[in-house]
């Protein structure tokens, strides 16, 4: 990239431009379409920063934290085999896999179902708090953390899909059946709420504060 033609690195916000979040088009301040609030190329609503992002992220995160408790306490599924009921929670499911010697799969499920949701909730709490108190510490590392969270969060759905396979397949009345437990609903809600929380978070705020401090504003 040619550095010479941009002697001062600037952000879209600093020159009054807005970047379309859907198609990436850069709407310039002298563009007549700016008043319309829609992207001239793809028609999405355009905004410089997500509206009310800090509060929306908090609301979604708190809801996810509350549901995290029933998600882990209640069984996500019950296996009924020859009249014997075995209830599985998220954690006991991982333990059963490990107990039967399936170490690789146990590790994958442990990471996706236990580690990822916890890391995601803690990291988003930290990131959202950091932009709220206008923390200026290591913006690049925080941006990196956000990018990781956004990518890995969806993989926690693996347990829900596993249950959907089992209940669709194991339906032998007297011999073996699999039933859904309420924990599955709470767990899916946690995954979806944290996905929405990550989408509501505005990563550009991390950098806005670093800029504002350099220019003596804010």
């Amino acid at each position: 990239m040619t550095q010479e033609r941009q002697p001062q690195r600037q952000t879209a916000r600093q020159i009054g431009a807005v970047s379309c979040h859907a198609c990436h088009f850069l709407v310039m301040p002298d563009d007549p379409v700016v008043d319309h609030k829609y992207c001239p190329r793809c028609n999405s609503g355009i905004f410089s920063r997500k509206k009310n992002s800090i509060n929306r992220t908090w609301a979604l995160l708190v809801a996810a934290m509350i549901l995290y408790i029933p998600a882990n306490i209640f069984p996500i599924m019950t296996v009924v085999s020859f009249g014997k009921k075995t209830e599985d929670t998220i954690i006991s499911g991982v333990l059963h896999l490990a107990g039967s010697g399936q170490w690789v799969i146990a590790l994958v499920v442990f990471v996706a179902s236990i580690l990822v949701p916890i890391i995601k909730i803690i990291s988003l709490t930290f990131l959202n708090a950091s932009v709220q108190i206008k923390f200026r510490w290591r913006p690049k590392e925080r941006a990196y953390l956000y990018r990781i969270i956004e990518t890995i969060g969806r993989w926690s759905m693996v347990d829900i899909f596993m249950i959907s396979i089992l209940i669709g397949l194991v339906k032998l009345q007297a011999i073996a059946t699999v039933e859904v437990g309420p924990g599955a609903l709470a767990f899916a809600a946690v995954v979806i709420l944290t996905m929405f929380a990550a989408m509501a978070f505005e990563p550009r705020l991390i950098w806005d504060q670093a800029e504002d401090s350099v220019h003596g504003r804010g």
Partner: protein
């Protein structure tokens, strides 16, 4: 009009000039490291071919069983949509809806939108409401979880292997090929190229 010369990073807002790049290269934000754009040669033809392939595999994945389960002489199979149906009949309609959307509807719509945008372009015709279709494509993407569904099948297979005979069905392989084709379509598709071609058609 609408020629892109600059682009702001979607994650930190830093402005960058769009530069000519070789096929397969990506431009990264100099400040935060996010991907700004990727360049691909013949991206639209390649993406169309992959999307069509994916669509064929998607239909095959719906026709046959995913897994076959045998216990005490009883054989049972499941299709792609059976999990969602069982969630509904067990009173967990919300879960059924989530699974249906993320493992069937969203992956299918993504392939359908790709084909319905790229196929007319191939014949120099304007696609039907291309802007709306591209917007939906962008917003649907995080909710299409076919690749995670595949991992879910593997976990279910391992879990069942402990107490019954399980074998893989034809649909499982079709579904995996659909996931791969979709991934390749996304990797091949250069959005700059797509908008450029749509702009060319508008001028005529």
């Amino acid at each position: 009009m609408m020629v892109e010369t600059h682009r702001a990073c979607l994650e930190c807002d830093m402005l960058h000039e769009i530069t000519e790049m070789h096929s397969g290269e990506a431009g990264y934000c100099q400040r935060c490291g996010a991907v700004l754009f990727r360049s691909q040669k013949n991206s639209l033809d390649g993406a169309l071919a992959f999307a069509l392939t994916g669509l064929i595999f998607f239909f095959l994945a719906n026709l046959f069983p995913l897994l076959e389960f045998e216990m005490q002489g009883n054989i049972q199979t499941n299709r792609l949509i059976d999990g969602s149906i069982e969630f509904f009949s067990a009173g967990y309609g919300l879960l059924g809806l989530v699974v249906l959307l993320s493992s069937v509807v969203a992956p299918m719509l993504i392939l359908l939108f790709l084909v319905s945008i790229l196929l007319p372009l191939k014949f120099h015709k304007k696609p039907f409401f291309p802007e709306a279709q591209i917007r939906l494509l962008v917003h649907l993407r995080p909710w299409a979880m076919a690749e995670i569904f595949v991992l879910g099948i593997i976990v279910a297979y391992v879990k069942l292997g402990d107490f019954a005979d399980v074998s893989l069905g034809v649909s499982l392989f079709s579904f995996v090929f659909m996931v791969l084709a979709t991934l390749l379509a996304y990797v091949t598709l250069d959005m700059k190229d797509l908008w450029y071609r749509l702009g060319e058609l508008q001028k005529k």
